[in-house]
């Protein structure tokens, strides 16, 4: 149980904010991952939907019903259940894109730093250019191109999710690559690496076994904060109508649909998914902030 | 001749004898509260610096030399704090002064220079600007007069063509030149004590000698006391009148430079002197002191040096020795053979 002796755990125990954030984040992740069992309804089972129940307000208001705790939307779907299922998709895209971006970014960073030369220059040039464009724009662009190329009209949710994961990760790999490259350059010149090369240890082994462990700290911080931005990016793309389709909505799609009912007074269709989104992102951001301060050698 | 000669110094508070020390540090104790308990970085440090005297403070990295300097000038970084003891400047206490009063003393009465001249100078402002701001903070001069004085200061520290250089940026100076600028900045308001923390460590050997010579000359000309912190015994031998040897946050030995170097009393000082290679000797191996200075969280009871001491006895492990007189020096050891 060495982890519990470490400085990291110690720092965690003294940071009530981080603890609270971790609790919230974990709670939401579990609730949405287990949505089929936790949610009171399955909002995608058309058979259970009753249009008479449509647009019911939250339970504590007049005309609200206990069974639909947070109200229903225009098709009679329970908002709470839809939020749980929607969070699932948001989290799927969020974590999926971060994992992909990490693999891509770390891989390219290692390669670039270790091999050096023209490959390094090329990769860094691409990274620099890409960095001067905001991630959302790149994600939007890749998404748009993918739509046109794959010729899906945005109604196929599986394809939409895959495209989203791909485009968001392609938009975000750069920070990983640069950090890893920096660390790789530092490690490359250290004596133990040179010794390993002299012995004849193959390059890949050196990179994976020696350089990688030294890099996990900063990468973890970037990844955590990236989860929040990825979730927001997905929500934004869905809100704009180029993300997950309304048939299996993510939180962003829900807000998009709910936006249409803002003026007619059915505020719960926007507020609750919005609150869920904000809660999720804030808790992940707080965790990321704490992690970054805790792992920062300068503040030890 | 120059603006310098028209500056009147505030007279010493108590018009006592000339030999009353300028700086007195008594029983200084500096602590660092941490998650895992309190670390004692300076433990009962006591010494004096006379007027116009140069005191060298020597010791390994981590012995507490810089912390002592920082405490004197009031720039101890939190969470470090002075837990007990007194610092007296011209007979008046410094350690408990409110921030604003301490600020007025800094630069005007006590100045400090640090190790790395490159990072000590603000890269975005001209040398002249930094000089003028310092001068105008402490002295009642207008911009034109301040600029004139700045040029004089640069000339005084050996920078050629000072009337041009005053408008240059720090990166336009070489390493040795920068340290001269740093010294000029420290002397801008004619302080009476300079705390010099490793002023030559970051410089080339050839330039070190020049900077040391410069410091010596300026200190002599302005009757400035200097607390010269360094780990280089050679610099001390060259420059200081007296020297204090620090170990693990305490003073091991203190005395006139000649005495401490040629007749060291404390076993640690003896080890230090013995390990300095000399051109005149014929040795097979370099002598060294076994072991290493203890970390702050693992300081031995009794004498801090006892695990490494060749003459250690039971008493050393139980009772911490105080500074006692041995001839012209003082040493913190129970068993000095006179």
């Amino acid at each position: 149980m060495r982890f519990f002796d470490s400085d990291l755990w110690h720092s965690f125990r003294n940071a009530p904010v981080a603890q609270g954030a971790a609790v919230v984040a974990l709670l939401m992740i579990f609730a949405s991952a287990l949505a089929p069992w936790v949610a009171p309804f399955n909002p995608f089972d058309l058979a259970t939907l009753d249009l008479n129940d449509a647009l019911a307000p939250p339970a504590w208001l007049e005309a609200g019903r206990i069974r639909y705790l947070l109200g229903t939307d225009d098709q009679g779907r329970d908002v709470l259940s839809t939020i749980l299922y929607g969070s699932r998709i948001s989290l799927l895209v969020g974590f999926g894109s971060v994992i992909l971006a990490t693999i891509l970014g770390v891989g390219l960073g290692l390669l670039s730093g270790y091999v050096g030369g023209r490959l390094d220059a090329f990769i860094m040039r691409v990274a620099d250019v890409q960095l001067s464009f905001p991630a959302i724009l790149i994600a939007l662009l890749i998404d748009g191109i993918a739509r046109a190329v794959v010729a899906h009209d945005g109604q196929d949710s599986t394809m939409a999710i895959l495209v989203l994961i791909g485009s968001i990760s392609l938009a975000n790999w750069v920070s990983y690559a640069r950090t890893v490259r920096g660390s790789t350059l530092v490690e490359k010149n250290k004596e133990y690496v040179q010794a390993a090369r002299v012995i004849g240890v193959p390059r890949w082994t050196i990179m994976l076994r020696h350089v990688l462990p030294n890099v996990t700290g900063p990468v973890l911080v970037i990844a955590t904060i990236n989860v929040a931005t990825a979730i927001i990016t997905e929500a934004t793309l869905s809100f704009l109508g180029v993300g997950v389709p309304p048939t299996t909505p993510s939180l962003g799609t829900m807000i998009n649909t709910g936006n249409n009912f803002l003026y007619s007074g059915e505020w719960w269709l926007v507020i609750f998914p919005g609150a869920a989104l904000v809660l999720l992102c804030m808790s992940v951001n707080l965790l990321g902030d704490w992690l970054r301060d805790a792992l920062n050698p300068k503040l030890q | 001749m120059s603006a310098a000669s028209t500056i009147v110094h505030p007279t010493a508070g108590d018009a006592g004898s000339r030999s009353a020390p300028l700086l007195q540090v008594r029983g200084l104790r500096v602590e660092f509260p941490t998650r895992r308990g309190t670390l004692v970085a300076l433990d009962d440090v006591t010494f004096e610096i006379g007027r116009g005297e140069t005191l060298g403070v020597v010791g390994e990295s981590g012995a507490g030399k810089s912390l002592t300097g920082a405490s004197i000038i009031g720039l101890l970084e939190p969470p470090g704090r002075i837990a007990s003891g007194q610092i007296l400047f011209d007979g008046k206490r410094l350690d408990n002064l409110p921030a604003e009063q301490m600020r007025r003393i800094r630069g005007r009465q006590i100045a400090a220079i640090f190790q790395d001249p490159l990072t000590s100078l603000n890269p975005l402002f001209t040398v002249g600007r930094q000089l003028i701001d310092t001068i105008c903070t402490h002295l009642e001069l207008n911009q034109a007069q301040a600029r004139q004085r700045a040029i004089e200061l640069l000339a005084d520290t050996g920078i050629p063509a000072p009337e041009n250089r005053v408008d240059h940026y720090p990166h336009q100076f070489s390493g040795g030149m920068r340290q001269r600028v740093v010294i000029a900045l420290a002397l801008a308001a004619q302080p009476r004590l300079i705390v010099a923390d490793e002023p030559t460590t970051a410089l080339d050997v050839s330039i070190q000698a020049q900077i040391i010579a410069l410091l010596k000359r300026l200190a002599r000309e302005h009757s400035t006391s200097v607390m010269l912190i360094t780990h280089d015994m050679g610099v001390i031998a060259e420059t200081a009148d007296r020297v204090a040897v620090m170990y693990a946050g305490r003073i091991a030995e203190i005395g006139p430079v000649d005495e401490v170097i040629h007749r060291p009393r404390h076993p640690y000082t003896q080890g230090l002197m013995a390990s300095i290679p000399s051109v005149h000797e014929n040795r097979e191996r370099l002598a060294q002191i076994d072991g290493a200075m203890p970390r702050l969280n693992a300081i031995p009871t009794g004498c801090a040096f006892n695990p490494r001491c060749p003459r250690v006895q039971a008493r050393c492990r139980e009772q911490r020795p105080e500074l006692r007189e041995y001839g012209a020096s003082q040493a913190a050891c129970w068993f000095v053979d006179v």
């Binding site: 927001i232 929500a235 951001n285 | 400090a112 990072t119 890269p123 975005l124 701001d133 063509a161 030149m177």
Partner: protein
């Protein structure tokens, strides 16, 4: 210095070429350029004729050269959906986006920098903690949600401010400015705040972090050791040291303002380029997408270049002079 500018210009040209290539590829593989020029109602014969005229049967590099030549003159063909000339559409919508972006930028800087400095100087105050909490909210709230919330509170619930559109616009030549009329200004308020919020929070946190770093430097320590006043140290020295690196990042952030304008314009139905772009992505209107891409890249490249030049002007270390060699 001249060499530096030339090099950056060359880089900029390269980037534009690459972007042009992507835009061109969009046309080639996804859309039909002949269709773009003629619109959807052309006959097959006209189509074929135009293909020959346009040289679409010519080798790839030649076509690319034509594309670039056209693009340089602002000729991108005709929108698939709207049937109008793409460049005209863009020019029509550009001022609206620019107005929004500039207002948001001013807001973000005018509030973000002072607040950032304040929170760095008063590290543990109550107000500081409040600002830090707000900034956390600012970076955690997605732009569209902020917009919706603002609409909900100020337009729907309170009815103080309008919730969509641009309001009255004063025409100066071809450019319409809403800021000059009271109605237009009212319409600007909510969208500007929405767009500015994320930037504001970011600027604030960055200024704070940088200032805290600067306060730990040796030169500030030395300044303290010289007894300089807090005011002098913080507001003349530390502030300048803080703002110099912040400038670059802020400049680059201006670019993302234009990108996020897309979202803000969607929420508020603001008739700018962003809204146009989104509609074109939804409808696979390739000519607009390609043109927007090139225009945005141009804007970014110009911004980057400007920021580089600014940095050059502000940081003396980057100028040509070498360390003085006049002895030691």
């Amino acid at each position: 210095m001249l060499a530096f500018i030339l090099r950056r210009l060359l880089q900029a040209a390269m980037v534009m070429l690459v972007v042009a290539f992507i835009a061109f590829a969009l046309f080639q593989f996804v859309g039909d350029p002949a269709l773009a020029m003629l619109g959807q109602d052309a006959t097959p014969e006209q189509h074929q004729q135009l293909r020959r005229d346009l040289g679409l049967d010519q080798p790839f590099p030649v076509q690319f050269a034509h594309f670039v030549a056209n693009a340089a003159q602002g000729e991108f063909g005709i929108s698939y959906r709207q049937g109008r000339n793409v460049s005209e559409l863009l020019i029509e919508r550009f001022p609206a986006t620019l107005e929004l972006a500039i207002c948001a930028a001013v807001l973000a800087l005018a509030i973000g920098i002072p607040v950032g400095v304040y929170t760095a100087l008063r590290r543990r105050g109550l107000l500081t903690q409040f600002f830090m909490a707000m900034s956390l909210l600012g970076v955690s709230l997605p732009v569209f949600l902020v917009g919706i919330l603002l609409i909900l509170i100020f337009a729907v619930a309170l009815g103080w401010l309008p919730s969509y559109g641009r309001g009255e616009v004063v025409q100066i030549g071809r450019v319409g400015l809403g800021l000059l009329t009271a109605d237009g200004a009212r319409h600007l308020i909510l969208p500007s705040i929405t767009l500015a919020l994320f930037q504001l929070a970011l600027v604030m946190r960055m200024v704070r972090a940088e200032m805290l770093e600067v306060q730990r430097t040796d030169y500030i320590k030395f300044a303290r050791a010289r007894g300089l006043s807090d005011r002098l140290i913080n507001f003349r020295y530390a502030l300048k040291n803080t703002l110099v690196p912040v400038i670059t990042i802020v400049g680059l952030q201006m670019g993302s303002l234009i990108a996020f304008a897309i979202v803000t314009e969607t929420v508020f139905q603001w008739p700018g380029m962003g809204l146009l772009f989104i509609q074109s992505v939804q409808g696979a209107d390739i000519p607009i997408m390609a043109a927007y891409l090139m225009l945005i890249s141009l804007v970014f490249v110009v911004i980057n270049l400007t920021v580089d030049l600014l940095y050059f002007a502000v940081d003396p270390r980057l100028r040509v002079e070498r360390p003085g060699s006049s002895g030691h």
